[in-house]
């Protein structure tokens, strides 16, 4: 458009638009605009680096432990037989120290412990989103009986005490699926797999209602918008209206929710492992290391503090990043 100066320009802008102008450019979608705003957010970028660091630790755990030259064997020679503690906090062989009594290396457990945190966080929140968004879409768009039933399930699940249920479900699941022998012993690898799966299931089960409720509300307002009416008046099949018209407009709340859920789940995983209902050896996790190290917080602080700081830093970075994402997707905030 070649606009002259003055008010006349705006008066004739419409006619001018047909005049040959510069080469046509691609438009910017709301998502692209949000990502552009995110790129300018310094806090978000810093958080991305922190998150990236932990992701790399998790992915490269085997490489890292071989560089550090540590393994998962017992090192009874490293601990004082009287006190059970190592005589050092950190040295070249064991940068994060060793466990009391057994002398297992803590760097090894820290590097591998990053994996369940991230896997649980990402897998559980992805599953939560899938279930929550599907149910929310169904309830919001179909309405009627479906809406009533879904809302009832949502209210029911939200009324259950999460911690109590989580603590209760793990032993039940172990009994049910663990094939314990007569003395109640369950094979170690099997137990840790069951615990892993149950942990994810518990997290998903008690969180999807929140997501479903949010998406339902969003869909209720979207489906009355005129562009959905326009799609219907074109004779568009319902499935297509949902997939093409509604779903793309939910990306904002979905991404924001995802970035909030991941840190919440990581923290919850650490908390549950600390309480003894989360993960267990041979799956290492930070929560479990914290719960073991907390007894020695005074005499051997490095044991507890390294995983504590790691988990706090990761959760903080993810949460701040989530804030930045939700700001970027919200057209009302201009910073």
């Amino acid at each position: 458009m070649s606009l002259g100066a003055g008010t006349e320009a705006t008066m004739v802008a419409d006619a001018d638009e047909r005049a040959p102008g510069p080469a046509p450019r691609e438009g910017k979608s709301p998502t692209q605009i949000a990502l552009e705003r995110l790129r300018k957010d310094k806090v978000a970028i810093a958080c991305l680096f922190v998150i990236g660091f932990f992701v790399l630790v998790a992915i490269l755990a085997p490489v890292l432990v071989s560089i550090a030259g540590v393994d998962d064997q017992l090192h009874l020679d490293q601990v004082n037989p009287l006190t059970g503690l190592a005589s050092f906090q950190s040295n070249a062989d064991h940068p994060f120290g060793v466990k009391a009594r057994t002398g297992e290396d803590l760097f090894y457990q820290w590097a591998y412990g990053a994996r369940p945190s991230l896997v649980v966080g990402i897998a559980a929140s992805a599953l939560t989103m899938v279930v929550g968004v599907t149910m929310g879409l169904l309830a919001g768009f179909l309405g009627g009986v479906v809406d009533t039933v879904v809302s009832w399930i949502v209210d029911f699940l939200l009324s259950l005490p999460f911690l109590l249920m989580a603590i209760g479900i793990v032993p039940i699941a172990l009994q049910r699926f663990g094939n314990p022998d007569s003395s109640g012993f369950i094979e170690e690898g099997r137990e840790s797999t069951i615990r892993f799966i149950v942990l994810i299931c518990v997290l998903v089960l008690f969180t999807w209602p929140t997501v479903a409720r949010l998406i339902r509300g969003e869909v209720l307002s979207l489906r009355e918008r005129e562009f959905v009416q326009a799609a219907r008046s074109l004779g568009m099949p319902t499935k297509r209206v949902v997939m093409r018209e509604l779903l793309p407009n939910l990306t904002g709340p979905m991404i924001v929710n995802l970035t909030i859920l991941i840190p919440a789940f990581i923290a919850t995983e650490a908390g549950l492992s600390f309480l003894g209902v989360g993960l267990k050896d041979p799956t290492y996790s930070w929560g479990q290391t914290i719960s073991q190290g907390v007894t020695f917080f005074d005499s051997y602080p490095i044991w507890m503090w390294i995983p504590t700081i790691s988990v706090s830093l990761l959760v903080l970075a993810l949460s701040l990043f989530g804030d930045a994402v939700s700001d970027a997707f919200n057209p009302q905030t201009r910073r």
């Binding site: 046509p24 438009g27 910017k28 979608s29 009416q229 799609a231 008046s233 074109l234 793309p248």
Partner: protein, 362 residues
């Protein structure tokens, strides 16, 4: 409105005057009641909001019917019912001879091509996550009108038709102004080559200079493509400029329907007269004497519990006992021309209410 009354369209269709009229859309006794629960007393009682309560009209091919009335009188609901976006409680809608009033969505699909909507709010009616190409291309795709490789050309053609730059196909709605967005909405409606367009206050969300542009565009398209319109509006000037026939609605019912000249030059229903006298007159600015203004007292009564008999009686200065007892029928009264129907017990022609067009153009 200055933009509207400056000129009047040349090709006024007066199908009523000859007998060969074959309606494209025929609506008979259309009713839409919304149930509402009220929680007073011990048990909730279900009441009915009578949004549209027995509306009948027809539209011939190429004809334009204006639906006017104040807010909440059921204009928009009628428009949505006609396009079957909402299901009517009862009544018949015939499109092209086929009954669609109670048809299922699947049966409606082929009809959807012939009937399109233009919406009031251009900021709501376009999906913010789709490019113009997708928005206008979707109807082509859904109805399989244009082969895939020619779709973009057709979209650009449509953009040109509504006066937008065809190079803007890859832009998103947030990059356009309100008027431009409304043009995109019009292009989308035109993509399926409809025969009838229900325009739901298409210009009331736009500012006045843009209103004129969009109205002129609709006028041009209507002539070029021989479109029939159901034009929902509350701006009497715009309706006078655009419509062949005008139906005045009050509280879910049509109180007066007739050709444009009947309604504007010889209105008989007191409500029509009140509406016309409330429209601002530019000639007053130029020094003409201010016309008598009819002021209506009070609010529109609740559509949950409308007044007995004539619904307008609570605000009418002519109301007598018969108005509360007997509901006036919509029929041709003495002094009215053919096709001019009034629902009133005491109709009376008042011919000095609307701005005379000669004065305006002078």
């Amino acid at each position: 409105m200055s933009t509207a009354s400056t000129e009047t369209s040349e090709t006024v269709v007066h199908p009523r005057r000859d007998n060969t009229r074959e309606p494209l859309l025929e609506v008979t006794d259309l009713v839409k009641h919304y149930p509402v629960k009220e929680y007073t007393g011990l048990f909730p009682t279900t009441n009915q909001v009578r949004a549209v309560d027995g509306v009948s009209f027809d539209v011939a091919p190429g004809e334009t019917l204006g639906l006017v009335g104040e807010s909440g009188c059921g204009k928009t609901t009628t428009g949505r019912l006609v396009t079957r976006l909402i299901d009517p409680t009862s009544g018949s809608i015939k499109f092209d001879g086929k009954e669609i009033g109670q048809a299922k969505e699947r049966q409606l699909r082929s009809m959807r091509r012939d009937m399109q909507l233009i919406f009031q709010d251009p900021y709501q009616s376009l999906n913010p996550r789709q490019t113009v190409n997708t928005i206008i291309g979707t109807p082509l795709e859904v109805h399989n009108l244009v082969p895939k490789n020619k779709r973009k050309d057709r979209v650009q053609e449509l953009l040109e038709l509504v006066g937008l730059n065809p190079e803007h196909v890859n832009r998103y709605p947030n990059e356009f102004s309100g008027g431009q967005r409304q043009r995109i909405g019009i292009a989308r409606a035109l993509a399926v080559e409809p025969r009838l367009i229900v325009a739901d206050e298409p210009v009331s969300a736009l500012d006045v200079s843009i209103q004129a542009q969009v109205m002129n565009l609709l006028e041009k398209l209507r002539k070029e493509l021989n479109l029939a319109f159901v034009f929902v509006a509350h701006d009497l000037g715009v309706v006078r400029h655009f419509c062949d026939r005008v139906a005045v609605m009050y509280l879910g019912k049509i109180v007066e329907i007739g050709d444009r000249s009947d309604i504007y030059e010889a209105p008989q229903h007191p409500y029509t007269q009140a509406l016309l006298s409330a429209a601002p007159d530019l000639n007053v600015v130029r020094g003409a004497e201010r016309k008598e203004r009819i002021r209506l007292e009070g609010d529109v009564p609740s559509p949950i519990n409308p007044p007995s008999g004539c619904r307008f009686r609570t605000r009418c200065w002519k109301a007598q006992d018969v108005c509360a007892q007997e509901e006036p029928l919509l029929e041709i009264k003495s002094g009215a021309r053919q096709g001019h129907q009034i629902a009133c017990h005491f109709p009376e022609i008042k011919d000095d209410l609307a701005t005379s067009l000669e004065n305006t153009s002078a």
